[in-house]
Symmetry: C2
DNA sequence: CAGCATCCCCAAGGATACTG
DNA sequence: CAGTATCCTTGGGGATGCTG
């Protein structure tokens, strides 16, 4: 069960260490900044929806991310635009027609996140198990 | 420059779609939950530090994550423990001696995040460029 | 040393109503 | 349809002091 014949963990973490050293001060904040934005409740869904559909209008996004308010949707979109992850195209028509799409950077983010996603999915059960185990400890 | 001979984006995103469908309701929250915890300012640093060092005491972590308060450190540790990402081992000595280490799940998370990290690092420049471009647009 | 208790601040997130 | 403005709640995060 223990993986010492493959170079997985130790090596990869060592690489992580090197990587983190590489982006010392300012860049380190960047990492957390990316995470923070990704953790922004809606940003993820937006990026994912755009990744799947290519281009979506404001209202389309609002429908896909059911539960989001216009305020938060607009906010998140602005944030993502500012981060260079999506592009906003205003057709300047009446009635208004604005659509959003991922940039190359945004696509890169989505791709970079895939391994994490698949990992989360694969380990969803483990998460719940851990959670329950902990709660059980509490009770016991 | 455009990659249409390799199956990268479309296929991977399609996989992402399938994956997201797979974990419909409750599991979807799990994803964001993971992200949220990862975005918790200190959790990342803790997981990474433990990944590098293997086992660390409370004060050790406090030193590595300079800027963290005991309160937040303890909080984050409890959270991570609850999520099954780290284990807490209290030696029950005087003076107190408690150390923390990653669980298998925690190591998995770290591994799952590596691609994202390396991507962020590789694209740090692009991020700043986007940011500056946007600010420039504002000014212009 | 480990960590709990208390008090405080503020930004994320939401509900609602309004506009071009 | 796309978006802004206003008001409110919540919880993350921090500072400080105390205990076993």
């Amino acid at each position: 069960m223990i993986l010492n014949n493959e170079p997985s963990f130790a090596e990869v973490i060592a690489g992580s260490q090197a990587a983190c050293d590489a982006l010392s001060d300012e860049d380190d904040g960047l990492k957390r900044e990316v995470l923070a934005h990704a953790g922004n409740r809606w940003s993820l869904g937006i990026v994912h929806a755009l990744g799947v559909s290519g281009t979506l209008r404001h209202a389309d996004l609002g429908r896909r991310l059911e539960g989001v308010t216009q305020r938060m949707l607009t906010r998140s979109l602005r944030q993502l635009e500012r981060d260079g992850l999506i592009v906003r195209h205003d057709h300047r028509e009446m009635p208004p027609r604005v659509d959003y799409a991922l940039t190359e950077l945004g696509r890169g983010l989505l791709l970079g996140m895939m391994p994490l996603w698949t990992w989360v999915i694969d380990n969803a059960a483990s998460f719940r198990a851990a959670r329950n185990r902990f709660d059980g400890d509490d009770a016991a």
